[in-house]
Symmetry: C2
Subunit: 320 residues, 2 copies
């Protein structure tokens, strides 16, 4: 396996792979006749363990080079003790995942949506479930393909629930909302849960999907005459990048378009012209507030700017 394949499969950049080898002596790939690195399968597997540990907060210098069994022992400890209520809710999902029961998983997720209602599912149950699955993965209790499989089923269930709720209710023309993520952000579930929350308020949202270049997001916002630009940030986005990207975006879209940012990214801070919604449940009230502002200013061009800080709730429940 060459260095480009390892980069794709493990998510570790080429430069990082080379510098780990230089500094820590691991990985220790073979070389082909042109002196290019050839990574054996077992080292690639170890690199995947290492990536999980690094994401979980371990420092490369402390863990790179350790034998596999020690790495696995460390992995079991990440994330602290099991969160009881979450564990209970997620337990059955994990069991279905481990049993590879596609039909059962789909039915179970559908039942969860029906029981909780779409609003509670998208703002509370769903995020909690996604977090639990991510935690299980980082502990090594799930294979990558099981996480892919979960994502796919979750997407299907939530998407059809959104579609179903779109026709009903009280559809309103405004605010017009555009959804998207930055190019660094491949995580689609947080975005979709946000979309659900907006849909429940009668907004007909339009999604660009994940990983759209910032100038393109801005161009789309202008083209759609969006009232609100909703961006989702998972924990993997470095705080500085999120901040810089939001500033760039703020400069590219008209002042009448509000920017709402949410997600588990720790570096998300409210700034002039950028609202931060710490949890998905606050989307509903925020839309109501927007509409109140809109009618106040005659509703033709959206609300006037200002009153930013009412969005900066202190709660920090949500995750991507």
């Amino acid at each position: 396996m060459n260095i480009a394949s390892v980069e794709r499969d493990c998510g570790l950049p080429k430069d990082t792979l080379r510098v780990w080898e230089r500094r820590y002596g691991f990985p220790n790939p073979l070389r082909d006749k042109q002196d290019e690195r050839l990574y054996p399968a077992d080292q690639v597997a170890t690199l995947r363990l290492l990536r999980r540990l690094v994401i979980a907060g371990h420092r490369p210098g402390k863990v790179v080079g350790l034998p596999d069994d020690q790495l696995k022992k460390l992995l079991e400890k990440v994330g602290g003790p099991d969160d009881q209520p979450t564990a209970h809710e997620a337990k059955q999902v994990l069991e279905l995942l481990r049993a590879h029961d596609a039909v059962g998983l789909r039915n179970h997720l559908n039942a969860m949506v029906l029981r909780a209602g779409l609003g509670a599912f998208a703002s509370v149950t769903g995020p909690r479930l996604v977090e639990a699955i991510g935690l299980a993965w980082s502990r090594g209790g799930l294979e990558i393909h099981q996480e892919h499989f979960f994502t796919e089923q979750f997407t299907t269930v939530l998407r059809s629930a959104i579609n179903a709720s779109q026709g009903s209710g009280f559809p309103r023309a405004r605010p017009r909302v555009l959804f998207g993520t930055f190019p660094q952000e491949p995580h689609a579930l947080g975005l979709m849960m946000a979309e659900a929350m907006f849909t429940l308020q009668g907004c007909l949202g339009v999604s660009l999907g994940v990983q759209t270049p910032i100038p393109e997001i801005a161009a789309a916002a202008r083209a759609h005459k969006a009232d609100i630009l909703a961006l989702s940030f998972s924990a993997i986005i470095p705080a500085a990048q999120a901040s810089a990207g939001l500033a760039e975006l703020r400069g590219l879209v008209p002042g009448t378009t509000e920017i709402w940012a949410g997600g588990a990214c720790s570096g998300l801070r409210p700034k002039p012209g950028v609202h931060v919604l710490r949890e998905l449940a606050s989307i509903g009230p925020a839309i109501e507030a927007w509409r109140a502002r809109a009618t106040l200013t005659d509703g033709s061009d959206g609300p006037s700017p200002g009153k930013t800080d009412q969005f900066a709730s202190t709660n920090q429940g949500e995750q991507s």
Copy 2:
């Protein structure tokens, strides 16, 4: 904009950006105080044009360094003259896209599915539409965000059609099908259209989504006891990589699991243990053939291997 951002936004690897600069004198980025490249926005825009031209078959040595207006002139010529029937079908969709009409686009796509029926849509109309949109993009007639937007709407419509058809019809337990793409392949539409074709035959398919590492695909196939592993390849996958990946995968899954590969990738060739389906419409007959083989061998462990070449149709209509 630093080199990593440009890599993400333009899809050109860092090494390529540096070597173009060295060889052709373009791009010609500024430098910050640590002597690192800073790309101005206009050069990034030109790089996007260049990427389109290179994908369309132009050689970097001939086009890198040319002024923007010449590049745009070249872009208008790529893809040959308009394909008349396709152009007619896609015209309204393009108009809706250019008008940023979310509701209209959704309704139009839904109407297309209803008019053609899911089978014809997923195997003929849909691929043709996707190809026309891709062509329009490579000619510069569409912004990136418009293509994202189209993908999102297309996904939503097709996904709900698949869901709706899943309950009805004559669900059969076999064959069990697993869908996925290689890590290099981010294109989800081809995969989903294939999923639709399988679903119409009563298969309850399970999707891993895009970009799953090959060992993980194999692990999932074993875990789900898949009868068929369906892989989608778009034109961006180099022939050699597709071939090598399929060989690797073939060695990792049991002989009772068939591998079916399809898509616009030119390098896709049938080989021992790997079936190539050149067009989506051939999926239906192929499943019937599988079932005939399955009952022949008592249907408990799937059909015996062999009779590979019946799948290697000569037609080449499909695209990813």
